[in-house]
């Protein structure tokens, strides 16, 4: 599903090039549940942003479902993102001024889904995530776990093939975190490809494979940086 070849990201500083990601080669098959781990500053979130097309300033090759993302114009990348991806954030990032139902409706409206159809999909999703009772509440009226549940529901509502999650349980207490991870596992078993960034070994244990990053390099299974192989 995903193939990264020699992907790099760097910043120009006074001291010269400062690399955030270095020679990343990564392949992820459809239906996989992959965890990206590593210490702070290793480049985990940056890698996720590149995969999610939130970041365009990188070099190398990136193919998604056989399409060459690296050769695409930004507008086409947005379309690809809208078509295939959902994003879950550590900070939930719900829109404060919108109710739960409206937060779910917004991604569909951005995909030009007709009003009646949107209403039906939102109703189904509220039901599926058992948040019908919360549909008219604003994010500030929900607990952290409930907000993240809405965040996941929003990421999935447009029917993506790939779910990207950046520290999805980072702001939740452990019970709420486990609840979200179980939800991810269930979605993965239903066929959803999931890539998550986490510091938590427990969360990583829900995935099929762990990719470890250090100083922008992917580590080999033995723990050394890939470049040292």
């Amino acid at each position: 599903m995903i193939e990264l070849h020699n992907v790099e990201k760097a910043f120009q500083t006074r001291a010269g090039q400062s690399y955030v990601l270095r020679r990343i080669h990564l392949t992820i098959a459809g239906g996989e549940f992959v965890t990206i781990m590593g210490p702070s500053g290793a480049g985990k979130s940056t890698l996720l942003s590149i995969l999610g097309m939130l970041d365009h300033a990188w070099t190398g090759e990136y193919r998604l479902l056989g399409e060459a993302v690296h050769a695409m114009k930004p507008r086409d990348r947005i379309e690809l993102n809208k078509k295939h991806m959902g994003f879950v954030f550590q900070q939930y990032h719900l829109l404060d001024d919108l109710t739960v139902a409206e937060n779910l409706d917004i991604p569909l409206s951005y995909r030009n889904v007709k009003g009646a159809e949107r209403a039906a999909i939102v109703a189904d999703t509220l039901d599926r995530f058992q948040i019908v009772g919360k549909k008219d509440l604003f994010p500030s009226q929900l607990s952290g776990g409930q907000q993240q549940l809405v965040g996941v529901a929003r990421a999935l509502i447009a029917g993506p093939k790939l779910l990207l999650a950046d520290e999805p349980t980072g702001n939740l207490h452990s019970d709420q975190g486990r609840e979200i991870m179980r939800l991810f596992k269930r979605l993965n078993e239903e066929g959803m490809t999931i890539i998550q960034v986490t510091h938590s070994e427990e969360n990583a244990s829900y995935s099929d494979r762990v990719v470890r990053l250090r100083d922008g390099w992917i580590e080999d299974e033995a723990g050394g940086a890939a470049s040292n192989r």
Binding site: S45, T46, S49, G52, M53, L54, D55, H56, A57, P74, R75, R77, I78, N81, K82, F87, F89, Q91, H93, L94, L95, D96, D97, L98, E102, I106, P107, S109, Y110, R111, N112, G115, R154, A155, A158
Partner: protein, 797 residues
């Protein structure tokens, strides 16, 4: 729900959930749009809108007045003009009502209506047969007079109107939409019929003339023709015509010439207020953009394209603009009414001033444009490569960048406010000096009114003298009063001058004799008015018709024509009077009065007794009644006394001298008042700008202050830090503002009285005021910073 409806719903909600932002932005838009529209409507009505006459670009006038014989000759010797007409004014007594009333009559030549291209609403206009010496007495009514005097009676045509002892037949009514250029008369009569004596005189230059160019004729050609005709006239009639050039001036320019500088200053001032308002709005929107960036990043991350983001923000900006525009329209309507209500009575083209759609659209476009520019900026500058940063709340670099922009905007606001304050300050100082000018007489407890005797019953001087003496006796019988009369009251806007010759000096060529103001007086005029006697004696009851002719000159005349010696005993006479020379002996010198306005110099003047008048046509008089009590209460008693002599003479223009004095500086006061309101608004907006910038700066720096306090900084030190930031803003704003004010101060120079546009004291005073206001605006944010609780601040970080 369609996407656009959804955008609208979310925009409404977003604005409702930020009441502080919404209220401030709306107030700024409302003030900006409202004030600009109101003032620009005045500018548009007076200066820009074409005159409401057919082909107004072909209408011209002359700077100097003409006599009717000269006008006819000039007309006959030129071919460039389609029609030419003249008009003058005369008050006529309407004795047909319950009380005698004075009406303003325009004495015109018949083509005046063709020149202006007006058709009657009812009846007809003056025919050439009626506009001739000895013609039938007919009148055309203005629409307003028809409504007031005849209650809009549809059968008014053919009815008669008794005017100054003569009966006039109403033959026409003009439409309500017609406004005579300049002062609006009640009715129109033929000059030749009503005032044949003056109409025949080549030396009586009393006609304002209107010239309509033929289509396609160049102004230069017409001007050359007119100048040639003028030179011919000068050769043929050198005594009455100096042969000066007669520059054709567009009628519109002539009508508004006096008011133009004030109106331009007002427009500049309101534009500054609008600009400050826009800067304020920009500052608000830049602050809002910080919160917006995160929201937009979320929307982009869940699939919104840039177009969709722009649409959302556009909806909000337009919603804000539409609401601000609607409220602005209300404010504009109210403001225009208030402006016109407080405007001086002689505001030119006042009848044509109306709320203007184009002006409203202009202000709306400018304000909404600002809202769009700064409101859309976050979406325009948003790029997906920055999405991650924008999702990460509170990044320092973005805050610093926006803080710098907002500080720049606050400096701009302060600078613009300083420009307005300097303008107001200079005008205020000039006005204070103008108000302090001594008019040369005592304006307190003085009631004045105007009387005009009808020619039919008061054709000769003897009858007039009898009447005047009767009035003086009747008024002096009112306890506690002393009364006198003058033909031209100071500051009333009236004056009359003649050419004069001095005994024993060679006579200058005809037409080049010195001009001297001629003022007739009756009663103890100088004592009643409080004009000081400098030498000799005042005029008295002894200066009767059968006594040798006497006169009193003012100091200006003594200084100019008798430098270093006393004029008393010298003799003076009016030039080119028919018959044997009649010499007037100067018996006294009195102090100058500010006859033409407090800011205008007095001209040489000769006061002569009405009883010895050589001009029987001078049948008008202003009565001055000095009282020991409040003069305003004496109007009714004075009227009774006057009507006890002749009940058919209208008593008009009943005003205290203080009112006349106030009226003479009404334009300056009006300008100052409006400018002061604008300056205060600008100051308030600028203070709001400084407050807003520092408040958000303090909010962003709460953790920093928390750390400082935790490390032992005293509250007053934190307070001083923020106050210093405010002081820096003020200093920068004042610096830029001073430079701008100095550069633009020349605009005001024509409106200032005894104040230089670069008056250092004003600049310093205003700078100090702005600094104090800016520091006061810094105080609240500074206090908030000083009161930072380190525990709460650090926990919230």
């Amino acid at each position: 729900m369609s996407g656009r409806l959804q955008d609208l719903k979310y925009a409404l909600r977003a604005l409702r959930r930020s009441p502080g932002f919404t209220a401030t932005a709306m107030a700024t838009l409302t003030l900006g749009i409202g004030a600009t529209t109101a003032v620009f409507s005045v500018v548009n009505g007076m200066l820009l809108r074409p005159l409401p006459y057919a082909d107004p670009d072909r209408l011209f006038t002359l700077a100097s007045n003409q006599s009717l014989p000269d006008l006819e000759d000039l007309r006959a010797q030129t071919v460039s003009f389609e029609t030419v007409a003249g008009s003058t004014w005369q008050a006529l007594d309407d004795t047909g009502g319950a009380e005698p009333q004075q009406v303003d009559a325009a004495l015109v030549t018949a083509p005046i209506f063709d020149v202006l291209g007006v058709r009657p609403q009812r009846g007809r206009l003056l025919s050439p047969q009626e506009d001739r010496f000895g013609g039938e007495r007919v009148t055309i009514l203005s629409h307003g007079f028809w409504q007031r005097r005849f209650a809009g009676d549809a059968s008014v045509l053919g009815s008669t109107l008794p005017l100054s002892g003569q009966s006039y037949t109403v033959v026409g009514v003009l439409p309500a939409s017609f406004h005579f250029p300049g002062r609006e008369p009640d009715l129109y009569v033929s000059l030749r019929v009503v005032y044949p004596l003056a109409a025949r005189e080549r030396g009586v230059h009393f006609l304002r003339t209107l010239w309509r160019l033929k289509p396609g004729v160049a102004l230069g050609k017409a001007q050359a023709e007119l100048d040639l005709a003028s030179r011919r006239l000068a050769k043929l009639h050198p005594e009455e015509n100096p042969g000066e050039s007669l520059p054709l001036t567009p009628l519109r320019d002539r009508l508004v010439a006096d008011a133009r500088p004030s109106v331009i200053v007002l427009q500049a001032a309101v534009s500054l207020v609008l600009l400050i308002g826009c800067v304020n709005l920009a500052s608000l929107l830049v602050a809002r953009a910080a919160a917006r960036r995160r929201e937009l990043a979320i929307r982009a991350a869940i699939g919104a394209g840039r177009g969709r983001l722009l649409r959302q923000l556009l909806t909000e900006a337009l919603l804000l603009g539409a609401a601000g525009g609607a409220l602005g329209l209300l404010v504009a309507r109210w403001g225009l009414d208030a402006l016109l209500a407080s405007a001086p009575a002689n505001l030119p083209r006042a009848g044509e001033i109306a709320l203007d759609g184009r002006v409203l659209a202009f202000a709306l476009v400018l304000s909404v444009g600002t809202a769009l520019l700064f409101g859309l900026a976050p979406a325009l500058s948003a790029s997906r490569s920055r999405l991650r940063q924008d999702l990460d709340l509170g990044r320092a670099s973005a805050r610093v960048r926006r803080g710098r922009i907002r500080r720049g905007l606050a400096v701009a606001e302060l600078a613009l406010a300083l420009v307005l304050l300097v303008g107001s300050g200079l005008l205020l100082k000039g006005f204070a000096k103008l108000s302090a000018v001594e008019p040369g007489f005592d304006t307190r407890k003085l009631l004045t009114f105007h009387l005009e005797l009808p020619e039919a019953r008061y054709a000769d001087i003897a009858k007039q003298t009898l009447y005047r003496q009767g009035i003086l006796d009747a008024l002096n019988a009112v306890p506690g009063t002393r009364t006198a009369m003058v033909s031209e009251l100071p500051l009333s806007g009236n004056w009359l001058h003649h050419n004069a010759l001095f005994e024993g000096r060679p006579a200058p060529p005809p037409g080049q004799e010195p001009e001297i103001q001629s003022r007739s007086v009756a009663g103890d005029y100088f004592r009643v008015m409080g004009i000081p006697l400098r030498a000799g004696r005042p005029l008295s009851a002894e200066d009767r018709a059968d006594a040798p002719l006497t006169g009193v000159v003012n100091e200006s005349l003594a200084r100019l024509h008798f430098p270093g010696k006393s004029p008393i005993g010298s003799r003076i006479r009016w030039a080119r009077m028919e018959g044997a020379p009649v010499w007037i002996t100067i018996v006294g010198v009195v102090g100058d009065v500010k006859h033409f306005g407090l800011s205008e110099p007095e001209e040489p003047a000769l006061y002569t007794p009405y009883a010895q008048s050589l001009q029987a046509w001078k049948r008008w008089m202003d009565v001055a009644l000095r009282s020991s009590q409040e003069p305003g209460r004496l109007g009714a008693a004075a009227k009774r006394a006057i009507w006890s002599v002749d009940a058919s003479i209208p008593v008009t223009k009943i005003r205290t001298m203080e009112e006349i004095l106030g009226g003479s500086i009404a334009r300056q006061r009006f300008l100052l008042r409006v400018l002061a309101v604008f300056a205060a608004s600008a100051l308030a907006l600028a203070a709001l700008g400084v407050y807003g910038v520092l408040w958000s700066s303090v909010r962003m720096r709460v953790p920093e202050f928390g750390i400082r306090v935790a490390l032992g900084a005293e509250p007053r030190r934190v307070l001083a830090m923020v106050m210093t930031e405010g002081a820096h803003l003020a200093a920068a704003g004042i610096g830029v503002g001073l430079a701008l004010a100095l550069a633009g101060s020349r605009v005001l120079s024509g409106l200032l009285f005894q104040v230089r546009p670069t008056d250092a004291a004003t600049y310093m005073g205003v700078s100090l005021l702005l600094a104090v206001v800016a520091l006061a605006a810094s105080w609240l944010p500074a206090r908030r910073a000083a009161c930072t609780d380190p525990i709460i601040a650090l926990r919230n970080d």
